[in-house]
Amino acid sequence: MTAVLLAFVLVAAMAAFVIAQHRAQVVVGGDTAALHSRPSYHGFYSFLWVVLVGLGLVIVLTAVPNRAIDAMLMGRIAEALPDQPRIAHELVLSDAKALAAGTVASKTGDLRLAIAADFSRAAALWNWVRVIGVIGGVLAAAFLTHRAVTPERRARNRTERIVRVLLAAMATIAILTTIGIVLSLIFETLNFFGKIDWQIWKFLFGTTWSPLSGVQSGQLDADKVGAIPLFAGTLMITLIAMLVAVPIGLFAAIYLSDFASKRVRSVVKPMLEILAGIPTVVYGFFAAITVAPFLRGSGEAIGLSVASESALVAGIVMGIMIIPFISSLSDDVINAVPQSLRDGSYGLGATRAETIRQVILPAALPGIVSASLLGFSRAVGETMIVVMAAGQGANLTANPFEAVTTVTVQIVMLITGDTEAETAAGPAFTLGFTLFCVTLLMNVIAQRIVRRYREMYD
């Protein structure tokens, strides 16, 4: 139904365009030079208004009544079942909706059937309201803009003003996204802290993570929400990844920028780009199916017991994933070191290696540090590799051969687990908020460093 309405709005807008354009020609008797704006601008003006009014009405008239109907029915269910929790009411409502739609409901009964009948009636009514509202709004917009077509009308300027406002509105979506992220994360985080009686330190410094085991009437056991094992696991895997990625990435970048011939570069650069373009789920599969058994086997060969979901496996594979990231960013900053510095060094008789070690690397160091920071923040937020190759149990250990879990793994497990969403969302969103803050902080620091570094050579 919504799709039909959207199609109607689009068709109506095109019709409005044609009609207004035609009308502009008619009002001046074909002498378009007498118009302030060319006929197509009159058409565009009409088109834009019809689209805006139509789309706005479709969205508002779809979202609002759905919520209104739900609220009304929830009220009726609450009246009928006053002593049951809200979750039971929601179940009744979803069953009633399923019955109304003729699909499978978990249960049926008088109350559910009555609510289903009410729902069908209300939905049908609102549907008509919606259709009439959208058609009316569209026609009104078309009519008003059509009537306003006169030779003197500054249709171009008005159209352009609308376009500018629309462009600015689109640019603010980025801000709205950030606000949306922060608000939704903070809301659930505060909710969660409320459930552990505001003992925030127990979340930040506790060492036992088992948030869903101590749920009692909505309250969580504050002694079981200690996130230190997750932070430690994340840190360990990330550090292993950096140990793999930074040397390889950096040396590759040095070689490519100062030693490699054009032909080598034309082979190696695309290779690194391929590495960068591989989806993380593929890295996860690689870690679980190839690297884990390999490390387990080689560990056994030297008498080490490596868990099949060890921190080492996840760290190494994550490191491979970050190599192209580090190498391309380092390549950029090494290339950005002014040629004059190189020439000066060579002029003094330094070899290439000496120039790199004593001139280029010190000059590029801030850039390399910020590249590593960005790589670090990426590794911290990486999800699929650790979900597929790291452990799931919170285990506080310093041994990289044992299974550890990470913040992202726990978020995925909480959200996709069997526990009801309301309980699991708290810890998951709180972890998400922590992750967001940490990565944001690292990005801001990295950007600062880069900016200062740029200023140095610009």
Partner: protein
């Protein structure tokens, strides 16, 4: 002056030992740095090679699928007793039972509940539905006996592909005599054939024991390492930790040694050998029958009859002695199934064809029925929504920021915002989608609409950044020329700047979309990880996408799903390569350098 530039002076300079040494050191340092660089690149290349290689190697197992052709009697009573010919009634028939009957008829010798169940597992559980569809399409077949190609089960398929090892013949020299006694049989050969088998089995036991001893020796190394650590431990805590590790290593070592000793004792025992799950199965195939050896000594053997031979066997020269590569405990395919499959194979009732089903079917719990089409369509819908939302919004935002926005705090803030959004972990976008798109806007869970909205928000920064870069690269002279002939700012932007920047914007968009196509975590958050068999027909149906399908399949325990996962990854990578190729072509052909 001439004295100084004489060769003698330079000669002394170059000949100076310290200088020469220094030069060599400096050149070595350069060589080392170069070697590090080459090593780093080789390591990265090796990683890429290993990754792609292991994926393709896995995927190779899903290239073909096996079929088993069996005669099946389409009993009218079971399908369409009233001979209506109505497909609806036919589809309700008991084709599962007919399939089982066909198997039973082909292998009447397989009796007993568990053996029967193993027999039924030779063909896929989906084969009955295909038979039903086939009959529903041709109602005239009811009542006839037809040869139908049943889809083989994953176990059969893997066995045929050699995943459980091969069946190897052992040499036979003598003439075989078999005395049958119900389900059991006693075998004798005129030559020392069974003694040979016994020797082979004992050798295997010795090999296994050796392997265990090597592992035990490694654990012993660990024990000595921990012992020295305990001796050198600085504090009680470290000592306790090492002690625990020591204890673990010791127990492990002792268990391995005990197991090795047991196997060795078994190998050393020259008497009869009981063939159990731990040793490889040995079959005797003679006179159309299959016997599985259960007890073996130097002179003869006792066997279990898997399929009785046609008649009594005495003094038979033509017989086969076969052994598996893996003991029964280490393979999914049972002895009965091996017999059935080998019989079918020698009756050329088995064939393998290219696995088209994988590209046309939806998801399934049975690996042999599972396909990638549902996820591909889900990915298409999701990407469509992503493109329709992210492209216009991203381009509009980029135009505004580059062409119209005044330079002030607010636009600076937007810019910082966009840069930071590009680096927010993707899982956070999943949480945003869960809270806002599903929780607040009430978009149905698991729908491409929800997934596409989340992906659009995630791709937006990439598109904006790329579009801004290309718009900024359009030289000011173009704008000035347009403004100079009287175009308004909006006209200048839309008629002149945007068309010139379009190829670059499209390149950036495609690269952003390719990233979104491979993204998994946010979609898992919003429930696109559910088990969905049907092919989605719109943006509000429940759906899954390619990378999520990869994730789900990689989690399944069935071994055949590993091959499916590899194949799904190949499909995903082909799409990514295509998208990137389009982006590269766009960049090469249309992008202008000013």
């Amino acid at each position: 002056m001439t004295e100084i530039t004489s060769t003698g002076h330079y000669g002394s300079l170059l000949g100076d030992k310290a200088t020469a040494l220094g030069l060599r050191r400096r050149r070595n340092a350069e060589r080392r740095l170069k070697a590090y660089g080459i090593t780093a690149i080789l390591l990265a290349g090796l990683a890429l090679f290993a990754l792609l290689g292991s994926v393709i190697w896995q995927a190779a197992g899903a290239v073909t699928e096996a079929y088993v052709t069996l005669p099946v009697e389409l009993k009218a009573d079971d399908i369409d007793p009233d001979a209506t010919g109505d497909p609806k009634i036919i589809l309700r028939g008991d084709f599962n039972g007919l399939t089982k009957d066909a198997l039973k008829a082909a292998f009447p010798q397989v009796t007993g509940r568990s053996a029967r169940r193993e027999l039924y597992d030779v063909v896929s559980s989906g084969a009955a539905f295909e038979l039903a569809d086939h009959v529903a399409e041709n109602p005239s077949l009811v009542g006839q006996t037809i040869n139908f190609r049943f889809l083989a089960s994953d176990i059969t398929d893997l066995y045929l592909k050699g995943s459980f090892g091969a069946l190897r013949p052992l040499p036979t020299a003598g003439r075989l005599t078999v005395a049958l006694d119900g389900d059991e049989a006693t075998l004798n050969s005129t030559e020392a054939d069974f003694a040979g088998v016994l020797a082979v089995l004992k050798d295997q036991l010795v090999d296994d024991a050796k392997r265990l001893r090597v592992r035990a020796a490694r654990q012993n190394n660990a024990v000595s390492v921990y012992e020295t650590r305990i001796a050198e431990a600085a504090d009680d805590d470290a000592r306790a930790k090492s002690l625990a590790a020591l204890e673990r290593a010791r127990t492990e070592r002792d268990a391995l040694l005990a197991e090795a000793e047991r196997l060795e004792a078994r190998a050393a025992d020259t008497g009869a050998e009981d063939l159990d799950d731990e040793v490889r199965s040995v079959f005797v195939r003679a006179g159309g029958g299959w016997l599985k050896l259960t007890r073996l000594d130097a002179s003869g053997a006792a066997a279990e009859v898997l399929a009785p031979p046609a008649g009594a066997l005495a003094d038979l020269a033509e017989w086969q002695l076969l052994t598996t590569d893996l003991p029964a405990a280490a393979r999914k395919v049972s002895d009965t199934q091996i017999m059935v499959i080998e019989e079918l194979r020698s009756g050329s009732a088995v064939d393998s064809v290219f696995n088209w089903r994988f590209f046309t079917a939806g998801d399934s719990r049975e690996p042999e029925l599972a396909g990638i089409w549902g996820a591909t369509v889900g990915s298409f819908w999701t990407m469509l929504v992503t493109f329709l939302l992210a492209f216009p919004v991203g381009v509009a935002a980029a135009i505004y920021l580059e062409e119209f926005a005044p330079r002030n705090r607010f636009t600076d803030f937007i810019e910082i915002n966009i840069n930071n959004l590009a680096a927010v972990p993707s899982i956070i976008f999943g949480l945003l989608g869960l809270a806002v798109v599903i929780g607040f806007f009430g978009v149905p869970r698991s729908a491409p609409l929800a997934g596409g909205m989340v992906m659009a928000l995630m791709t937006l920064p990439t598109i904006i950044i790329a579009a801004r870069a290309t718009i900024a690269a359009v030289p000011p002279s173009i704008r000035e020329a347009a403004l100079g002939v009287g175009a308004s700012q909006v006209q200048t932007t839309f008629h002149h700047v945007l068309p010139l920047a379009m190829p670059g914007i499209l390149t950036g968009t495609i690269i952003g979309m390719a990233r979104a196509l491979g993204e998994t975590a946010p979609l898992i958050m919003i429930g696109m990880v559910a088990f969905i068999v049907d092919i989605p027909t719109g943006i509000t149906d429940s759906a899954t996408v390619l990378p999520v399908q990869v994730y789900r399949w990689s989690d399944f325990p069935e071994r055949a799903f590993e091959a499916r996962t590899g194949a799904a990854i190949c499909v995903l990578m082909i799409f990514l390569v295509l998208m990137n190729a389009v982006a590269i072509v766009l960049r090469r052909r249309f992008e202008r350098r000013w």
